[in-house]
């Protein structure tokens, strides 16, 4: 009787990457729901458009590279990129904007570097930054929350806006969009107003951007659930949020009129999405525990710097890409002490 030979271990967990990726998407669901509540259906359609574009371009490129298509699509990584990019774009972004960003993310940032596991940069953020640089007007056209506009944008109006540029009845997208809370703050500070004066504007809620603060709260919950489920470790989110709070605290302490509070920075813009869902992309992030803390802190601090003194209202995407660049070096210098080696 002959038996099959194989190397140890002979036990392994059946869970695979698809489960991890599914959990990332589950963790985003509450935030998507809150997003829809405050800002209508745009985000859902963005996600759908991005998903179709991501899966199609991933399949095409895998085919061209002579790689098996089905298992790679099934791992869910392209879908996560699409959902994150869909979340990050303004809710009424034209369909072609979403498509261009997603295709660039999948084709250039991911597949041309060798596919999953080999991309040095976060694909969703590469797509986002390409759009931000190429289409600044579309990328800053944000919707105010529904209780500010005074009317609900219906599902059909959203579809129409995204695919035709008009909400119907001669109402253009431009007519309903406005600056994001961070942009409003930036413009206000630029006009020599104090932070307290700016946040009196109706764009702001109790502790962050109106509507956004609750989306961010849902993202925070989803992120904590991911840590609980061991989809991610706590290091990167702690680094990002800690770094952001620390530097915001310092400057807020120096001049509260010019520099917004840490709480405001946490709950406006992309801090939560970035900390839990973007920066934690394991492929392009640091991998050692200490490295992850440093990597996260770098993102938090760079985000603050770009928000406060840079040319863009938010800086999460740029910060993530800059820290991606530094990740291998950080990893090299933050190797943990191996058992039986001298204590450093």
């Amino acid at each position: 009787m002959l038996f099959r030979l194989s190397g140890s271990p002979h036990l392994n967990v059946p869970d695979g990457m698809p489960l991890v990726m599914r959990r990332v998407i589950y963790a985003l669901l509450p935030a998507i729901a809150v997003y829809v509540w405050f800002f209508s259906w745009g985000v859902v359609i963005n996600i759908l458009v991005a998903s179709v574009a991501a899966l199609a371009s991933e399949a095409l490129l895998l085919q061209a590279r002579g790689k098996p298509v089905r298992p790679a699509l099934a791992d869910g990584s392209a879908l996560v990129t699409a959902v994150l990019l869909g979340m990050a774009l303004p809710p009424l972004s034209p369909w072609w904007l979403t498509t261009v960003g997603t295709v660039f993310a999948i084709v250039v940032a991911k597949q041309l570097y060798g596919g999953l596991g080999y991309n040095p940069f976060n694909p969703a953020m590469v797509g986002y930054v390409v759009l931000l640089i190429s289409f600044p007007r579309e990328m800053t056209a944000w919707l105010p929350p529904r209780d500010l506009t005074g009317f609900d944008i219906t599902f059909m109006q959203t579809v129409s806006a995204i695919f035709t540029g008009s909400l119907g009845d001669g109402l253009t997208v431009d007519a309903v969009t406005s600056a994001s809370p961070l942009d409003t703050l930036r413009i206000g500070i630029g006009m020599a107003k104090t932070v307290d004066e700016v946040v009196l504007s109706p764009t702001f809620g109790s502790f962050g951007g109106k509507g956004w603060e609750w989306v961010d709260m849902a993202l925070l919950l989803g992120g904590l659930w991911m840590i609980y489920k061991r989809v991610i470790t706590w290091h990167i989110p702690a680094g990002v949020l800690g770094g952001l709070v620390l530097i915001a605290l310092i400057f807020h302490g120096i001049d509260p009129n010019r520099y917004a509070s840490p709480l405001f920075h946490l709950f406006s813009g992309a801090a939560m999405l970035g900390a839990f869902f973007i920066a934690t992309d394991p492929v392009s992030a640091c991998t050692t525990p200490r490295g992850r803390l440093i990597f996260g802190a770098g993102i938090g601090i760079l985000t603050y710097i770009i928000r406060t003194w840079g040319g863009y209202p938010d800086g999460v995407a740029f910060s993530v890409l800059l820290m991606n660049l530094a990740a291998p070096t950080i990893d090299y210098y933050t190797q943990p002490r191996v058992f039986g080696h001298g204590r450093s």
Binding site: R4, P14, A285, R337, G340
Partner: protein, 542 residues
């Protein structure tokens, strides 16, 4: 007894499904004498033993059939009486799946002992005598590694042993051989510990037992209480966590000390032995019985009646499985050892060796093969569970790229191949295989490098020798010329003087030749040397 001992923990580790219930509650059964015994000459780390019997020889139970060769080696004994029927290559439990030299004995069924020399009071023996008896008993580490025990008991003149640890952790799933041993023969375990303590003159003795074996813990406590010399010995319950049974991990948990990388436990004043080894030592010293049998867990859904068997070393796996009700259902794999670190067997004629603690017979689907590997996404789960605190994801990256220097930079050789990383890998990457491959390649390269170095040295000494000979020839020529000049200058030569001169010249030449031969490489035929030198150079440049 006393207040709970402070325990430490190591990084990572896993809580695995235990699968110990299948066998841990049933008393062990003595296995039958098999129809034939296959005794591999290498059942330990080090040099294989050398046969001292011939085919056709009658042997008695406990008789030495192979003697140690070299220091790191132990003898092999006949597990029962019978006739040597073959000495040759047979399938053995080895990761390579290749056959290896074995002595085959056909038992005569009489189970007749050779002369035994029990020691009435081990305390009358000097430590060195104890070590010699343990070596003569063929005792090796029975927890899996198979390192000759007598060497571990000789930590060297400049080292003192603070702590002697008995390893009763048995952390791998399915295996319960040590558990049963501690429950059924606690006095032998404690007795072995006493002998070890005496041999090492150890100050403190600890027995570490994982807390999923409360009965074993209780049995040892009971035996210890009954023993007159139980002072200074402590049975310690330790948290169940794979791989606590790893020597370095157990030492850390019990003492907080870390065995240095590439070092030995004795470097931190600790000696660690498996509980089964201790029991074997007890039998060896007090009954004069060499290591010829051991407890083996035969388990898995692929065997009808899983249980522990006391089997003679050399019993083919098949005969043990038959005594456990035979195969149950479809079996596609046989594992010797546990599911995390065990090796698969090519067939069931492979024998039980001194280090076999388990024969795992998984039914189809019980230990499914991993799904096809997908790319590493550096999620870091492997790092989180690594008991050595390595970065498996980085080592994998470099091993895959065959960048072995980098893999070593990331401390590849500290990997204990426990399999935690591969177990949790969400990309189902066979990480341990990559690490083994990299280690093997690095060792092979190192070997090549040493060979090239040797060839280079030979080449250099040859060149040196040739030059010396040339110089000597020139010197002789010069002397001859001078002598010729002197004779022409000094008129007619004296024939007697000339004869003496010539004789002295011959002696000088002979002496020079002898010197040249001694200085150069004589074992190597001269024709081969240029070839060796060329390969050496080629290897250095390439």
């Amino acid at each position: 007894m006393t207040k709970p001992r402070k325990l430490w923990r190591f990084h990572g580790g896993l809580h695995l499904p235990e699968h110990k219930q299948e066998t841990c509650h049933q008393p062990s059964v003595k296995a039958r004498i098999p129809t034939r015994l296959i005794l591999p000459l290498q059942q330990h780390i080090g040099q294989p033993a050398e046969p001292v019997v011939k085919v056709g020889d009658q042997v008695l139970k406990g008789q030495v059939v192979a003697q140690p060769s070299g220091y790191v080696s132990v003898p092999i004994h006949a597990s029962t009486s019978g006739v040597v029927t073959a000495i040759g290559e047979f399938p053995v439990p080895h990761p390579s799946g290749l056959p290896a030299p074995c002595i085959v004995i056909e038992p005569d069924g009489k189970d007749e002992w050779t002369e035994r020399h029990p020691v009435a009071d081990y305390r009358q023996l000097a430590p060195a005598e104890v070590r010699n008896l343990i070596r003569a008993g063929g005792i090796v580490g029975m927890g899996g590694a198979g390192f000759p025990t007598f060497i571990k008991l000789d930590p060297g003149p400049d080292k003192t042993v603070e702590t002697l640890i008995l390893n009763g952790a048995e952390c791998e799933p399915y295996i319960t051989a040590d558990d049963r041993l501690m429950r059924e023969q606690p006095h032998e375990v404690i007795g072995g510990l006493m002998i070890l303590r005496h041999a090492l003159q150890a100050r403190e003795c600890l027995i570490g037992v994982e807390d999923n074996k409360p009965e074993a813990y209780a049995a040892l406590l009971e035996a210890l209480r009954a023993h007159p010399d139980g002072d200074g010995i402590q049975v310690v319950q330790i948290p169940t966590l794979y791989p606590t049974g790893g020597e370095k991990q157990l030492i850390k948990v019990l003492t907080g000390k870390e065995v240095p990388s590439r070092g030995l436990p004795s470097d931190v004043g600790v000696v660690c032995q498996n509980v089964a080894t201790a029991a074997a030592i007890y039998r060896c010293i007090t009954a004069g019985e060499p290591l010829i049998s051991r407890l083996v867990t035969v388990t898995g859904q692929g065997v009808a009646q899983p249980r522990n068997m006391e089997a003679l070393i050399g019993t083919p796996v098949r005969e043990l499985i038959e005594q456990c009700g035979g195969y149950a259902g479809e079996v596609e794999k046989l594992i010797m050892g546990g599911p995390m670190m065990g090796i698969t067997l090519p067939n069931d004629t492979v024998p039980i060796t001194k280090t076999t603690n388990c024969v795992l017979v998984p039914a189809r689907g019980e230990l499914p093969a991993p799904q096809p590997a997908t790319p590493c996404i550096r999620c870091g789960e492997c790092m989180r569970v690594c008991p050595t605190n390595l970065l498996p994801q980085q080592i994998y990256w470099h091993a895959r790229a065959k960048d072995f220097d980098k893999a070593q930079d990331y401390n590849l050789f500290d990997c204990i191949e426990c399999g935690c990383c591969a177990y949790v890998c969400q990309s189902h990457i066979p990480l341990v295989q990559y690490f083994r491959f990299a280690k093997t390649e690095i060792r092979a390269q190192e070997h090549e490098r040493k060979k090239a170095e040797l060839a280079r040295k030979r080449h250099e000494s040859r060149v040196e020798r040739l030059e010396r000979e040339k110089a000597e020839r020139a010197e002789r020529l010069r002397q001859k010329k001078e002598a010729a000049a002197a004779t022409t200058a000094g008129g007619a030569p004296d024939p007697k003087k000339a004869a003496i001169e010539a004789a002295m010249e011959r002696v000088r030449a002979k002496r020079a030749a002898a010197q040249a031969a001694a200085g150069g490489e004589t074992s190597n035929p001269a024709q081969q040397e240029p070839a060796a030198a060329e390969t050496a150079q080629a290897k250095e440049t390439g």
